[in-house]
Amino acid sequence: MADFIRNPVVALPDPNPESHFSEEELIFTEDEKARIAGWVSQYPTSDGAVMWTLWLAQEKFGFLPPEVLQLVAVELSLPYAQVYGVATFYTQYFKEKKGTFVLDVCTCFSCQFCGGYDILAYLEEKLEVKRGHTSACGRYTLQEAECLGACGSAPMMQVNNGPYAHNLTPEKIDELLEAMEAGKPLPFVSVTLPQDEDEMGGNRRTDAEAVEGYITPPRSERTQ
C-alpha cells in the first residue's frame, strides 16, 4: 500500500491473457459438482455460492486465471463478468500463479508500530524476493497485507490464507521457515482474548497455547 500511495497507478488487466490450463484439466469432478450444488441450494440465487465455488476452484487449480473463472461462471450459470468482479475484489483469491507458501505480512498501523516493516524487510532479504513478488525458486510469495485483525499480537503474518503467525521476531521467522521447508504445516494458534488476561498474568504479549481447530473454546469448556 505504501508503494501505491507514492505511485498511485492502477494497471489495466491483460485483455487477452494466455491460457494456463488445457480443456481436459478445466473440469469439475462429479464430487466437486455435488458440493457446488449443495452450496447453491443454500441460497435463493446461485450467486450466493460464488465465493465458496471460487474457493474450491482455487484449492483445485492453485490460482484463478480467467479460464477458471469462466468455468466457475458456467457451473453457477452466472455472467462471467460477475464472477470476475468478485474474484478481483478479494485479495485472497489469487488471480496469478503464486508460490507454494504465500506470506501476507501485515503492515497496517499496529503491526507497523511494532515492527511490521522490519519483519517484511527481513523476509525480503532472507528469501531474496521483493514484496509483491514470488521468489525465483517459486516457493515463496511475499505480500504486504492490510490489517488482518490480530493487532493484539503484532507484528504478525498469515500463511496461505490460513493460519496466523503471531508476535514475529527474526528468530521466530527462521524457525517458521525451517518448519515449512521441512513440510510441517504451520499450526493454528488461538489468540488470547481480553478475558484471559488474568490467566496470562496480565501479559497479553505472551504466546498463547496452540489449540486444535479454528475456534477458541469458551472458558467453561476448557479442559485444563
Binding site: 498511485p8 497507478v9 494497471a11 488487466p13 487477452n16 491473457p17 464472477v83 470476475y84
Partner: protein, 583 residues
C-alpha cells in the same frame, strides 16, 4: 390520502413511491448519480441524502406525542437516509438541502469525496456541459478540495468494445452501466473490478463489450467515463442543437434526439417515451446518423442519354411532368415505406391526377434481424403507414414482368431503390422513363433514372411515420436544406443557430446544406405543371385531411401527435382480410 411533508410543504401520495422519484416527479430537485428509474437501487453514490423523521408515538397508547405548543414531536432517523432507497410512508417529515444545513453539509462532503480522484479535465471532456457531476459540483459541491495530493491514475481510453471507450479515472462507480447490462440488456458483459480506490467498470479478459445496445451506457454514465468511439471529441454539447425526432432505421420508431452542428447530424441519443422505447436506443439506430450526412446528392438532374447532368429544380420537375403526361395511364407509381405518410398520400394524388396506378411499396424485411425489443425484422419506418393509406406490398413477379415487357412507359419511384431490392435491373428499365426521388448517391436505380430528384430525409422534413404497433409519430426538421421552404423553417427550433444565422455570422456555415426538397413539396410542383392543383398542401394540412377522411388515421393530426405520438386504431380494423398474415 397519506401525506408526506417535504421542506415544510405537504404532499399527498399514493402507493409506495420511492422518496427520490416522488421528489423528482413533484419538481423538487435532489442531486443523485446512481439512481435510474428503470433499474435497481443500489444507493451507492450517497448523493441523494435527506433527513427523514416521523411523528413520535406513545408506545402504550399509540397516540402522537405533542410538545407544549401542541405540535407533534418529530423523531428523526439517527443518520441521514438515501432518498432513492427510502419508501415514503404516511406522516413522514423530510428535509432536503433546502431546509437542512446537515443535509447540505453531507451532500457537499459527498461531492468532495467523489471528486478526490476525479480528473479536472472538463475542458476536454465530452460530457462537459451536460454532466451531472459537473452541474451538481457547481450547485451543491465544495468550493475547493482539501485533498491536495496526487490523484489515482487509472486506465484511460480503454476500448471496451467496438463502440464504447472507457476513461476509468473519470468513473465515480455509480454502477449504472453494470446494472444496465445485468438488468436491461441482460448481456452481463460489464462488472466493477478491483476494490476501494482502484475500482472501475470493465469487461472480463477476452470479452468485448459488443452487445447491440452497448451505447446506452454512454447516456447512462453520469460522468464522462464512457464515451462513444464515433462521437468522442467531435463536438461540444453547447455547439450543437438537439431536435426531438424518431429513428427511421426500423419499424419501431424509437424516439430520439438528433444533435446537429454546422448542418451535420453528429449523434443520435434516445428520448424517453415510456410507450415506445422507454429510455433506450439500439446501436444501429445511433450509428444511422451518418446516413444524414454521407453520400447525399448535389442537386436534381436530368439524364441526357447516358450521362447525368445537374439541372435546375424547375427544369427537372417540368421534365418529370412531361414524362408523366406522355405516359398517361401507363405511368406506374411505386410508393415507399421509407417515406412519410404525407409523401405517400401526395404520390397517390399524383397518380390520380396522371391517371396512372400505384403498384404498391417495396417491403424491406430482414428475417431474423429483429430481437423482440427495439430492433425489428422490418427495416423501414413506415410500412404500416403505407398500408393504412391503402398501399400494399408490391406484387414483385407481376410488376417485374410488366416492366420487362416494356408495358410500363414511365416509372415514378418515391424514395426507394427498386434495382437494389431486386424488383428490376437497370437494363430492364432501358425502355422506361424513370423518375426517382432518392436520398443517397449510392441508390442503384440512379443510372436508370431520367429525372433524379433528391428528396429530404427524416432529419430534414416534416412528416408522420406509423410504427409496427400502429403508433403515429412525427418528425420535425433537425437540419436545414438548400433553398427556402417556409413550412420547414417555421418548424425549426427557435434558438437554432442555423435558423437565424446569416452569412455574416462567423459561425455560419453553408457548406453542408443539401440541395433537396421534401417530396410533399415536389409533387404539387409537378401537378401544377400538369395543370392540376393538389389540395390540401403542406404536411400539417395533409395530415389534418387524412385524419378526417381515413378512419385508419382517425385523430392523427400533427397537434395531437405532439412529441410522443399517438396510438392509432388496431390494424385489423382497416386491413382487408385477404392481406392478413401476408408478412
Amino acid at each position: 390520502m397519506p401525506q408526506v411533508i417535504i421542506d415544510g410543504k405537504s404532499y399527498e401520495f399514493e402507493g409506495r413511491p420511492s422518496l427520490l422519484q416522488f421528489c423528482l416527479d413533484h419538481g423538487i430537485e435532489l442531486p443523485h448519480f446512481c439512481y435510474h428509474p428503470s433499474m435497481s437501487v443500489p444507493a451507492n453514490c450517497r448523493q441523494c441524502l435527506v433527513d427523514i423523521g416521523a411523528p413520535m408515538r406513545d408506545r402504550q397508547t399509540g397516540e402522537i406525542q405533542v410538545d407544549e405548543q401542541g405540535e407533534p414531536v418529530i423523531q428523526y432517523f439517527p443518520k441521514l437516509q438515501t432518498s432513492c432507497s427510502h419508501i415514503v410512508s404516511d406522516g413522514q417529515v423530510v428535509h432536503t438541502a433546502r431546509s437542512s444545513e446537515k443535509v447540505k453539509d453531507a451532500q457537499r462532503d459527498t461531492l468532495e469525496f467523489l471528486l478526490i480522484n476525479h480528473p479536472l479535465d472538463c475542458p476536454i471532456c465530452d460530457q462537459a456541459g451536460h454532466c451531472p457531476l459537473q452541474i451538481q459540483a457547481y450547485k451543491y459541491g465544495p468550493e475547493g478540495s482539501r485533498f491536495e495530493f496526487r490523484k489515482v491514475h487509472k486506465p484511460k481510453k480503454v476500448k471496451l468494445g467496438p463502440r464504447v471507450v472507457l476513461d476509468a479515472e473519470r468513473c465515480i462507480n455509480c454502477t449504472r452501466c453494470v446494472r444496465f447490462t445485468d438488468e436491461i440488456s441482460k448481456s452481463g458483459q460489464l462488472t466493477i473490478i478491483e476494490r476501494g480506490v482502484k475500482n472501475y467498470p470493465m469487461t472480463p479478459p477476452g470479452v468485448s463489450f459488443d452487445e447491440p445496445y452497448s451505447m446506452n451506457v454512454i447516456d447512462l454514465c453520469p460522468v464522462g467515463a464512457l464515451t462513444s468511439v464515433d462521437f468522442r471529441f467531435q463536438a461540444r454539447i453547447w455547439e450543437m442543437a438537439s431536435t426531438p425526432s424518431i429513428t427511421t432505421t426500423n419499424a419501431k420508431g424509437s424516439n430520439c434526439h438528433l444533435w446537429v452542428r454546422d448542418n451535420l447530424v453528429l449523434r443520435i441519443t434516445p428520448r424517453a417515451n415510456p410507450d415506445v422505447n422507454e429510455f433506450w436506443l439500439p446501436d444501429e439506430d445511433r450509428l444511422a446518423y451518418r446516413r444524414f450526412n454521407e453520400d447525399r446528392p448535389a442537386g436534381p438532374s436530368i439524364a441526357g442519354g447516358t450521362r447525368a447532368a445537374f439541372s435546375s429544380w424547375d427544369a427537372s420537375l417540368q421534365r418529370a411532368a412531361e414524362i408523366l403526361q406522355s405516359a398517361g395511364e401507363n405511368a406506374v407509381f411505386i410508393a415507399s415505406a421509407y417515406a412519410t405518410v404525407e409523401d405517400n398520400w401526395m404520390l397517390m394524388q399524383l397518380a390520380d391526377a396522371v391517371g396512372g396506378q400505384v403498384a404498391g411499396y417495396i417491403p424491406h424485411i430482414d428475417p431474423g434481424h429483429g430481437d423482440g425489443w427495439l430492433c425489428t425484422d422490418d427495416r423501414t419506418p413506415n410500412r404500416q403507414g403505407c398500408e393504412r393509406l391503402g398501399i400494399y406490398p408490391i406484387d414483385e413477379t407481376l410488376w417485374r414482368a410488366r416492366i420487362e415487357s416494356g408495358e410500363v412507359t414511365a416509372l415514378y419511384v418515391l424514395e426507394d431503390d427498386p434495382v437494389a431490392s431486386g424488383l428490376c435491373s437497370v437494363e430492364s428499365l432501358a425502355g422506361t422513363e424513370v423518375i426517382l426521388h432518392y436520398h443517397h448517391t449510392t441508390n442503384q436505380t440512379l443510372p436508370a433514372a431520367r429525372v433524379a430528384l433528391p428528396a429530404a430525409m427524416a432529419a430534414e422534413t416534416i412528416g408522420t411515420f406509423v410504427n409496427e404497433s400502429g403508433r403515429a409519430q412525427r418528425v420535425i426538421p433537425a437540419k436545414a436544406i438548400k433553398g427556402t421552404n417556409r413550412t420547414l423553417m417555421m418548424q425549426m427550433g427557435l434558438s437554432r443557430a442555423d435558423r437565424h444565422g446569416t452569412p455574416f455570422d462567423r459561425w455560419h456555415n453553408e457548406s453542408h446544406y443539401i440541395d433537396c426538397k421534401p417530396s410533399w413539396e415536389m409533387i404539387p410542383m409537378i401537378t401544377r405543371a400538369l395543370g392540376t392543383e393538389i389540395n390540401p398542401q403542406g404536411p400539417r394540412k395533409i395530415m389534418q385531411h387524412i385524419s378526417e377522411t381515413n378512419p385508419a388515421f382517425a385523430g392523427a393530426t400533427h397537434d395531437a401527435m405532439g412529441l410522443t405520438g399517438i396510438d392509432l386504431c388496431l390494424k385489423e380494423s382497416f386491413q382487408p382480410a385477404h392481406l392478413e398474415g401476408t408478412h
